[in-house]
């Protein structure tokens, strides 16, 4: 029981890191433009399928497909932002919800059409398979890789947002859009770049997720709930909040599945509802 605790914590942390990658973009865009983008996981799916296609049909190595997954998802998200999303920035929550649910449905059908609705498999290279023994406990190599990548990306993201001029613009736009405009910040442009970044990170998350949770066209819907929980619990616009929420969610989901399998996802939803009732703005939400 106790020996497995370390394993559960480790797997949960790795899972949480994955959820963080998938949801961090949504945290920023939701906090910044108040746009309820339920299609965020569709971007992740774009990244996942891009990676699978490059690997299985064109024979690219796994690591080389990751940047391409990022780029593909970023391009798709910017295209949608320019053509559809920007028209609804001032619309009601409901209209935004409906538009993006529509996009989710379309993406699910399109991927089912081109790739069938079967699970896609991706072969990771030899050096990422197997597991490492530390203190008599075995840790899957791929999960260690996943955690390392996620932590590196988190560090880069925090540096980008806290230490650069671009980051200052993003934070200004999240905190007070009108004031930011008044200071001459091109909020539209900043938002477009942030949106691309968020979509790209989701795409990267989608590519990395294939080994852990698999990939099929229903991904856009089944992981949407998890991503929304992370964003809602963490607080809009708060990266640190998402990080904490994703880790808590990942660990509690793993622990729930391991120790109380008969409860299923009940624990997660209950935690989400309770947290939201306690703090409607999220753990670290400002507004």
């Amino acid at each position: 029981m106790l020996a497995s605790l370390a394993g559960v914590l480790f797997d949960g942390f790795a899972y949480g890191m994955l959820l963080f990658l998938l949801s961090v973009g949504l945290t920023v865009t939701l906090g910044m433009m108040n746009f309820v983008n339920l299609a965020h996981c569709s971007f992740a799916m774009v990244g996942g399928y891009a990676s699978v296609t490059l690997m299985n049909r064109l024979g690219w190595p796994f690591l080389a497909t990751l940047p391409l997954a990022f780029v593909a998802a970023a391009v798709v998200s910017v295209f949608l932002e320019r053509t559809l999303y920007r028209r609804l920035y001032r619309a009601s929550d409901l209209d935004q919800c409906l538009l993006t649910i529509g996009i989710v449905f379309i993406s699910v059908a399109v991927f089912a059409w081109f790739y069938t609705s079967e699970q896609q498999s991706a072969r990771v290279p030899e050096y990422l398979r197997g597991s490492v023994q530390i203190l008599g406990q075995s840790f899957a190599t791929y999960r260690i890789f996943l955690i390392a990548v996620s932590l590196a990306i988190t560090a880069v993201l925090v540096l980008l947002l806290e230490r650069t001029r671009f980051g200052a613009r993003v934070r200004a736009a999240v905190d007070n859009q009108r004031m930011a405009r008044g200071l001459g910040i091109d909020v539209e442009r900043t938002f477009m770049i942030t949106f691309a970044l968020g979509g790209g990170l989701a795409g990267l998350g989608g590519a990395l997720a294939i080994q852990i949770v698999g990939l099929d066209p229903s991904f856009a819907l089944s992981y949407l709930v998890y991503v929304l929980i992370v964003v809602a619990v963490g607080g809009l616009g708060s990266i640190a909040g998402s990080f904490v929420a994703a880790v808590v969610l990942g660990v509690s989901d793993m622990a729930g599945k391991y120790y109380f399998p008969w409860l299923g996802a009940f624990v997660i939803y209950f935690v989400m509802v309770a947290l939201l009732m306690w703090r409607p703005l999220g753990l670290l939400g400002k507004r």
């Binding site: 559809l84 619309a91 209209d95 919800c97 538009l99 449905f105 008969w262 009940f266 939803y269 939201l276």
Partner: protein, 312 residues
Amino acid sequence: MANANLKPLEAVFWLATLLPFVLTPNYLSLASQIAITALFALSLDLILGYAGIVSLGHAAFFGAGAYTAGLIAKYCWSEPLSGLLIACIASGLLGYALSHIVVRFRHLALIMLTLGLGLLVHEAANSAGAYTGGADGLQGFRVPAVLGFRFDLYGTTAYAYALLVLFLCFLVSRRIIHSPFGLALRGIRENATRMPAIGAPTRAHLRKVYTIAAALAGTAGALLTQTTSTVSLETLSFGRSADVLVILILGGAGRLYGGIVGAIIYMVARDQFSGLNPQYWYFWIGLLLVAVVMFLPNGILGGLAKFSRPRT
């Protein structure tokens, strides 16, 4: 309220709902499905269209009613009218309990909470497999007849039953909408902070309408159970919540006939395209949603109203 009586056009519409008995007797089961879906959409319209509560978890009440009616038919008695009434009350009670949570929130937190509560109820039913049958659903019961009319293979009794219940619930909803209470709801939808200033208890009103909507949704669920003699976990799923939202938006939210028109179009289209893989069906639904949001913000009925009364 001046227009509280049925207008001629409405009378024609309700008379036309009798036409399937004569014109399309082979499609009466579909017609009863449409009537049930229309009732479900009508219940969502009360909270979304009139009171402005966006819900992504309305199927919780539909499923609650469906399971209540199923459990009664399986373990107690097979008389449907009392089962319908009890299902209506049970889902209303669930709605009343949840309304205390729901009315405190707005915007994103509200959407998340209704989604979370819907998923919670779904998981609860899934976990309580001993009573609900879990993923297999509730089977092995039959509702033989209503008021002495046997449920036949063609769905004649089923459609008559569903249509009658829909009509009665519609009259109740109509009365509510045209009452001062209904007017207060629309006021809350437009501006929730100013309404208390003119003496409207916002939260009490919202709790009341949420309870009524839950009871109507549960009635629709119970109708589905009694006319099909099965209950599946799908009655509680997120997919059903999303479907009813699509139906209402397609028809036009905030209009009494929005849900009914939406249900007719959606269900008939789905029946016609039923040869397609359901995943491809959702492609068209998605496209339709995008188009409605972009070009027809008030749904089909809203578009028609604008078309027939052009601004001068």
